[in-house]
Symmetry: C2
Subunit: 362 residues, 2 copies
């Protein structure tokens, strides 16, 4: 009845115009469905000759197994979901997410998983769509990022059985898997750097305290100041929203209180702060010196080039999927917490201190 047009296929090369099934391939190779399945999935024992014969037919026909059937039968979809909740669309102007997605995508590709993206623009959309993500069998696991403190999504995930890992430190310590940059350590290092340079009136342009990055970078910064015996003058602190504009406004807010130096909690905000300083006629680093956080390309091309705490964003993305896959396979068990290290990159925004490697700064 349904005769597979193998000869057609052969002449057409790999293009799979005709849909084949395991059964078709089996018939062509003179074996059963089961055997074909075994070679496709490279499991179970198949004799070398048969394996080769089957593989030949697969290549000739360009056969690709149907994922829906596979999902249905195996109860695994082979897709991981990346969930980015509402209210962060503004953050999308920050290159951070682009890099994160790149890392996650690359790791997914490597693992043969496909990546589905769930960007929720509003909370109602979130509520409407979220159940489907979690319990339709669409995804094998979820990566959750940009979650706010007390995120309802994380609550739902914790109640359910779907494996997930969050990017950024969750506010329920010890109960969920996550990967996060060393925000505390990085910010601390930034503070120490500024102190070492002899500054004492050091300002802080912060990230939102509704995010773990906001909380942790503040804490690290205060830690660093304390270690040097320096206090943060409250009038020298203003928080932003990760956006360029918010950095601009924050700088305007504190500038009249005469900071000698400032730590800005994100490169993108630092771009705004720099713009504000240009407007105000202040030169960086002569009049005020600046350290920021992220290490995005913009920090390298700004005027001046920024001294910044670099975090390996793509690597965070990669690790998150690797951990998720471990959870899925059962390789790793409990909640795993991974902190990826940050690194202070010294450039021009703190004076002529761009030092060759190995040289100490006073």
């Amino acid at each position: 009845m349904k005769v597979p047009a193998v000869t057609n296929e052969t002449s057409k090369g790999q293009s799979a115009a005709v849909k084949h099934t395991l059964e078709d391939i089996g018939r062509l190779a003179g074996v059963s469905r089961s055997t074909v399945s075994r070679v496709v999935n490279d499991q179970g024992s198949v004799s070398p000759e048969v394996r080769e014969r089957v593989q030949g037919v697969i290549e000739k026909t360009g056969f690709i197994p149907n994922v829906a059937a596979r999902s249905l039968a195996s109860n695994r979809s082979g897709v991981i979901g990346l969930v980015i909740p509402s209210r962060v669309h503004s953050l999308f102007e920050d290159p951070y997410f682009g890099r994160l997605i790149q890392g996650i995508s690359a790791a997914s590709n490597d693992a043969g998983q496909t990546l589905s993206l769930f960007l929720f623009q509003t909370e109602s959309e979130e509520e409407r769509l979220y159940p489907r993500v979690v319990s339709s069998g669409l995804v094998d696991g979820v990566i959750l990022t940009a979650s706010r403190m007390g995120d309802p999504l994380m609550g739902t995930l914790m109640e359910g059985t779907l494996p997930f890992v969050v990017i950024g430190r969750p506010d329920v310590p010890g109960r969920v898997s996550y990967v996060d940059a060393d925000n505390v350590g990085g910010a601390r290092q930034a503070a120490l750097h500024l102190c070492e340079l002899g500054h004492t009136r050091i300002g802080y342009l912060g990230a939102p305290m509704s995010t773990s990055a906001g909380v942790d970078r503040l804490q690290g910064f205060l830690d660093g100041l304390k270690a040097c015996g320096v206090d943060l003058d409250p009038s020298l602190r203003a928080d932003g929203l990760f956006s360029e504009q918010s950095g601009y406004e924050a700088m305007h807010k504190i500038y009249s209180h005469r900071p000698e130096a400032v730590f800005v909690a994100s490169d993108t905000m630092a771009m705004g702060a720099l713009r504000a300083l240009r407007e105000l006629g202040a030169n960086v680093p002569q009049d005020i010196c600046m350290v920021s956080f992220d290490g995005l390309p913009s920090s390298e091309t700004s005027t001046p080039a920024l001294t910044t705490v670099h975090q390996p964003i793509m690597q965070s993305g990669r690790r998150s999927v690797e951990i998720l896959l471990g959870l899925l396979r059962g390789d790793v068990s409990g909640p795993v917490a991974e902190i990826v290290p940050t690194e202070l990159v010294v450039r021009d925004s703190c004076g002529s201190l761009r030092r060759p490697a190995g040289t100490e700064a006073g």
Copy 2:
């Protein structure tokens, strides 16, 4: 045997800890699998009372149909694939892609489709993964963007039967569906604007000629100049790669030939051009005036704020999925080409010409 634990469910609220099937729901509501399917999909005729009863059970149990089974039976997956080929990772520092993805995601959500992202980092990855995208039944259709001229991916797509739409003008006119910004018209308008301002030595910092945007913006620009009887001095033209850095380099290349004005083919490149001019000690707009393309947030916050040709990126994304869905449903038939309009936004980078609406500029 498999007794659905409804009472449990009820006490737990919506959370679907236990997996139900159509059959389960049917049993609980005293109807058949088929009837439940009809109310879930809102198709076929069901009496109001029965519909209500079934809906009640669905809500109480938090039932979500299994997507794999649905795909298998219906031969539709409900997911659309967004494919971004290799070599454009650099472009990810451009906020363009973020916005595009936002638009595509929003439209997908609205349509109840899920979005899968295929970012290929290398060509080998591309070749390895692409067949799966196209012929595993994973996706119902594909949106292809950032495709270069002569993209092999588009060839594969054209040979196959999977519906697809490309974002950007494809190099095979009339044969594939696409949505594109009015690059020609926008660039033309930019040129006219510069001419109207009385400039004749107008430079051009272009996008790569391997992209349709590069080709079309150049053409529009030249059209505009021609309409004013102005020629483009070849020494005033340099092409970039959409990146900030490439804009910086391009400006350095042409500056010594003394342009009075310049059209830059993307906002991100314009940021680099601005940086070069700052370094060179040239003031914008006093010494040189600038118009760019895209209308990203950065064009508004740069110093000076840029006059730019705004293109509605998110809308392009939205339209691409709407068209794809039309193709899928069979509402629309042939290849459809949609050009979304651009708009010149006058700001500070061309002098004090920010004019109230309706006022003519000399």
